[in-house]
Amino acid sequence: METFVQQILNGLVLGSMYALVALGYTMVYGVLNLINFAHGDVLMIGAMVGLSILKLLDSTFPGLPDGVQLAIAIVGAIPVAMLVNVLIERVAYRRLRNAPRLAPLITAIGVSILLQTFAMMIWGRSPLPFPQLLSSEPILVGGAVISQTQVLLLVLAALAMLALVFLVEKTRMGRAMRAVAENPRVAGLMGVDSNRVIVATFAIGAALAAVAGVMWGANYASIQFAMGTVPGMKAFSAAVLGGIGNIYGAMIGGIVLGIIESLGAGYIGDLTGGFLGSHYQDIFAFVVLILVLTVRPSGIMGERVADRA
């Protein structure tokens, strides 16, 4: 029972990070019908910039409280990630908006490689230690433990998602986004500037990814130029699981996938009689992805079909 609670907690933490990244995928997919393959690398950029800010703070204001440092790192990483993602859209995707589907997809892969290469040039190729800022004193929840960083992560993810829901449901920009997602042509006829909406979508997605990136670093204590690929793929799986194009779906999908993954890692050994161990954790996301796409391509919340090319 304790393992169960522990794995659910781990799953929530993992899942809320996936959810933050999945939102970026799903929003871009909603307005452009495009998978931004480089989105995982935006998470990496966020983490790297966050780390650089922390190092800078450490050398200039050594006495700053740790929580404040982390807050500044997150706030500082957001605009950089936004800028990067908006630039990607401008340089690599905008010209290909009406091209056949294979073209933007391959460009996106190219952009992903480029981002990793730039990160390699700036921050080097070896893993960098991410400082543990919050107290490592664990909090006990019904026999299971959760670290303070993880609690903060859950709170931040919840806040970011609430802010996003507010933005999409209550503001003019949100209405414009929903309109473009529904039908870009008609939205344009109604006076919505679709380019502005698309740029805003990329920016918001990047902001969420940056938050996830810094918290990823804080949680796992080590970051690297290639760290974005796997979370990116898993977040995409989460978006598909929830129903791609649907922001609530992305949140639910992220959390569900996180829980599936950590429960799977916890119990796979028992299930397969010791043949497969917990280091197979990473396959769950892909198995879920393939299952969802074959059984229910519209995901938990969505109505869209997977059969678009």
Binding site: L34, I35, V91, A92, R95, L96, A99, P100, R101, L102, A103, P104, L105, I106, T107, I109, G110, V111, S112, I113, L114, Q116, T117, M120, M121, R125, T229, V230, M233, F236, S237, V240, G274, F275, L276, G277, H279, Y280, D282, I283, A285, F286, V287, L289, I290, L293, T294, P297, A306, D307, R308, A309
Partner: protein, 404 residues
């Protein structure tokens, strides 16, 4: 590129003359290159393997329009199969199996004789190549089956996930039953023997291969083998492209629903694309394992899948000579960079500012983005009259201005 034509249908004389000339150059190359050291021939060996891979991937991506980002998995399947069946690794597998399923290992021992327990199985290349091709084709169909409904980006991400799954298994299938020897990889893989002649050279011959009375370095021997395999691959994919099946692939690529309406069994045809493309990858993998004598999961990362895709994209999606060009350019590029750019930086700045490896990544990424933005059909696209991917025709329509 108009000077070099391989268009046998329209300019047969020029095309065959070009082919003969190219073949002569290719055959003479190792003897010239060997003067500058074996490393250059070695580079060419690897380039030829990558060309085989790129040609295989071209069937899936270029002909059938199915973006496969897990292609390197088939390369891995071929390589690991060879590792398992042509090295002492099989003995390790039996040893770990004996505690779990003694009956299985007993059967194997009864089949192959007692020395399997200590020595493993040592299959010859003639058995391994078809086995590797078939096994990879089976994996190709396995990947294809659940993804039949998907196209475009969904397919891409699922295949990417499939590649990752294979890699995770390669990394972890050493415990409790030792198939892959985990992250350490499989060592001591037998070199290829053709009619009793080992292409790695006999022991004590300083890696010189003697055919008749004539000796040549081991890398040259492998070069000729890989060249022959490449030519076979080019021939086969070329014939496939213009077969009924090839037409069906193009039809699916251009408009799946229309293809279905015309009576094409899209499910079978797509599965065939996956497994035929995969089989070339499997054979290339088997060759790679025998050539290196060693396989480990590191050689089969996502980056490698993307490299092969970059070759196809850079050269010309769906156009065989273009894909070969892309393969040559991108496979030789890192080595050229290592031999030219690093010393140049050393001379100019007194230190290496950008490592060749980083530069290689940079160029791969840039190539993919710039090619897609500016020349979506690749550096050497198919002639207009042939079937081109939509990416190309789309641009032309814009230039010519489609009639209203």
């Amino acid at each position: 590129m108009a000077l070099i034509t391989f268009d046998t249908a329209h300019k047969p004389r020029q095309a065959y003359a070009n082919m003969a000339l190219l073949l002569a150059v290719m055959l003479a190359f190792p003897f010239v290159a060997a003067q500058f050291g074996n490393s250059w021939v070695r580079i060419l060996d690897m380039a030829l393997l990558y060309i085989m891979l790129a040609l295989g991937l071209n069937i899936v991506v270029g002909f059938a329009g199915l973006l496969d980002l897990g292609y390197i998995a088939f390369f891995a399947v071929g390589a690991y199969l060879t590792g398992l069946l042509a090295s002492p690794q099989f003995a390790a597998l039996l040893e770990s199996l004996i505690n779990y399923h003694p009956e299985v290992s007993d059967t194997v021992v009864r089949l192959f004789g007692e020395e399997v327990r200590t020595n493993g199985i040592h299959l010859s290349v003639w058995a391994i190549v078809p086995l590797a091709g078939l096994t990879a084709a089976l994996f190709g169909a396995l990947l294809g089956a659940p993804t039949l409904k998907l196209r475009g980006d969904y397919l891409a991400i699922v295949t990417l996930g499939f590649g990752e799954i294979i890699r995770i298994f390669m990394n972890n299938l050493n415990d409790p039953i030792n198939f892959t020897n985990g992250p350490q990889g499989i060592n001591l893989i037998d070199p290829i023997r053709i009619f009793g002649v080992s292409l790695a050279g006999e022991a004590g011959s300083r890696a010189t291969v003697f055919v008749g009375g004539f000796g040549m370095p081991s890398v040259n021997a492998y070069y000729f083998l890989f060249l022959a395999l490449c030519i076979v691959t080019i021939f086969m994919t070329g014939r496939l492209q213009h077969s009924r099946l090839g037409r069906a692939w193009v039809a699916i690529r251009e408009d799946e629903i229309a293809a279905k309406a015309m009576g094409i069994n899209t499910r079978n045809v797509k599965l065939l694309a996956f497994s035929m493309g995969a089989s070339f990858g499997g054979v290339a993998g088997a060759m790679f394992a025998a050539f290196q004598g060693f396989v480990s999961p590191e050689s089969f990362s996502l980056t490698e899948s993307i490299s092969v895709l970059a070759m196809v994209v850079l050269g010309g999606i769906g156009h065989i000579p273009g894909v070969v060009l892309g393969g040559v350019l991108l496979a030789a590029l890192p080595e050229v960079l290592r031999h030219v750019v690093e010393p140049a930086q050393q001379a100019l700045f007194g230190k290496v500012l950008i490592e060749a490896e980083v530069l290689r990544q940079l160029l791969y990424g840039l190539a993919m983005v710039l090619i897609m933005l500016n020349r979506p059909a690749g550096l050497w696209p198919s002639p207009v009259k042939e079937d081109r991917p939509v990416a190309a025709t789309d641009m032309e329509e814009k230039e010519e201005g489609a009639p209203a």
